[in-house]
Amino acid sequence: MRSMILGQYVQGDSFIHRMDPRAKLTGLFLFLLVMFLANRPAALIPAAAFACFVFLMTRIPVRYLLKGLKFIAIMVIFLFLFRMLMTREGTVLLDLPWLPIYEEGVRDGAVFAGRLFLLMVMATVLTLTTTPIELTDALERLFKPLQRLGVPAHELALTMSIALRFIPTLFSEMEKIMKAQMARGASFSDGSIVKRIKALIPLLVPLIIQSFRRAEELAVAMEARGYAGSEGRTRFRQMVWRASDTRVLFTVVLTGICIFALRG
């Protein structure tokens, strides 16, 4: 159970680790936008080069990245096939009786798959180098200007951080309840699907009831510690946006210019 905990972060002290998380998030978003400029596989080369460069800078062993990308690779291949077969323009490359493959289809599929793959690589790099707390904090700050429009940035971030705090606690509680039910003869691993789902009920009910109790006690404890919403609150974690952070964003824009130049 412990192995499935969210957002694998790999501790480190690289330039990417130390970047302002706001810059990392903004950079990822910019990177996504810039990739839309590509309309043929060759135009994605600058983006791929940028991604490689960033990953090398994190100094994280490649196997971590590969582990995270296994599932994504399957998705990417699937997407490629799907796009390829759906597009029916240009010259026919391969005249299969049922599924003729068109030149345009291969191109379109490759661009689509390439974009998704690179985006996923960069997103993985983000979670590998940024702790979940830094991420929630950065999201709160980036969305703060929208608070006036009714976006509850602070509340959402707090909820996320409490969830992060309690996920491991709930997992170990679930394990405990599971063992208790197993000691009474319950089984979670055999029988039909219906039977297995039924077996989960005595597991989930106590867990949910317990969670409500926790939530109530936590709310009281938070109030006792002076919590009264975001107003007048200061933050322990400070974020410093350095010139180097701006430079990274600038590099993303440069990558965009290269992509534009390579358009077909």
Binding site: R165, P168, A224, R225, G226, F236
Partner: protein, 281 residues
């Protein structure tokens, strides 16, 4: 300021809902600055309710509560009262908010709007004072019960409170955890002059106090030095309390005409009194 009464409860009545029986009925008590008071009494006698009234989480129906002269019912003073009174609750898991120790210790400071530079210093100081140095980045679910409760205390400590309320803060801990938490509270009491109000069923903990208050059905039924109160068997019986082992032992010995000095209440004092006895014979 220093000479002001820490907590003054004047004739307070409280009920959770209209028509429900009153949980506190005309309760009055006073806790002086830098005192260590233990509050005990059986389940449902209203101890936790009293604790919540003291820092303004609940407001009395009748009567009033003054914390260093500030009325808990005043909206403006509420913030100050929350800062002065720190509360530690029973369940160590359900009072830690943040995903790491240092973020949690900072939580109260963030709420009161302390500037980041001061905050950093205070957090580091509180973590060290609570004996948690080296665990700054630890995640709560990897800590022991005693460590979690000390994180909770550190979070309060960072706010430099005058009064610490422990609501059965050790009841879910193992003996080692209990010891850690109580010795931390003891140190704060001595070194930082914190007033301690400890709600507890643990008789050993009661014996550490300067004074003990026994509650029964929402009123105070006994109030005095633990040594004196524990001799009043009748009151204890009514409140569903047992005499501590040392007191029972002394009375049992007295019946056999072995005299142990009355001030030998704590386990340590008892042991040394018994040893002295052995030397004499």
């Amino acid at each position: 300021m220093a000479e002001e009464t820490a907590v003054q409860v004047n004739n307070v009545t409280y009920r959770y809902a209209e028509g429900a029986p009153s949980v506190l009925s005309g309760l009055s008590l006073k806790v002086e600055q830098n005192e260590w008071v233990a509050i005990t009494g059986h389940n449902g006698s209203g101890k936790s309710t009293l604790a919540r009234l003291i820092n303004g989480l609940l407001l009395p129906e009748h009567g009033d509560i003054l914390v260093q002269g500030l009325n808990s019912a005043s909206e403006d003073d509420k913030v100050h009262i929350r800062r002065k009174v720190g509360m530690v609750f029973q369940n160590p898991d359900n009072q830690i908010v943040a995903p790491t120790v240092q973020d949690d210790v900072a939580f109260g400071l963030e709420n009161t709007g302390v500037d980041p530079q001061t905050m950093e210093k205070r957090v580091a100081w509180a973590i060290k004072a609570a004996g948690l140095a080296g665990l700054e980045h630890a995640e709560p679910h990897n800590l022991s019960g005693g460590q979690k409760q000390r994180v909770a205390i550190a979070g309060i400590l960072a706010l430099k409170p005058d009064i610490l309320v422990l609501d059965e803060a050790t009841s879910m801990l193992d003996p080692l955890g209990k010891k850690e938490v109580m010795s931390l509270a003891g140190r704060l009491h001595k070194e930082e002059n914190v007033t301690v109000i400890s709600i507890t069923h643990d008789l050993e903990e009661v014996l550490r106090a300067d004074r003990m208050i026994v509650m029964n059905q929402g009123v105070v039924t006994a109030d005095g030095k633990p040594d004196d109160v524990f001799r009043e068997k009748e009151i204890l019986d009514r409140a569903g309390l047992e005499q501590p082992f040392s007191v029972r032992l002394r009375e049992e010995l007295a019946r056999r005409e072995v005299v142990i000095p009355e001030n030998a209440v704590s386990e340590k004092a008892m042991v040394s009194a018994l040893c002295r006895l052995k030397h004499k014979t």
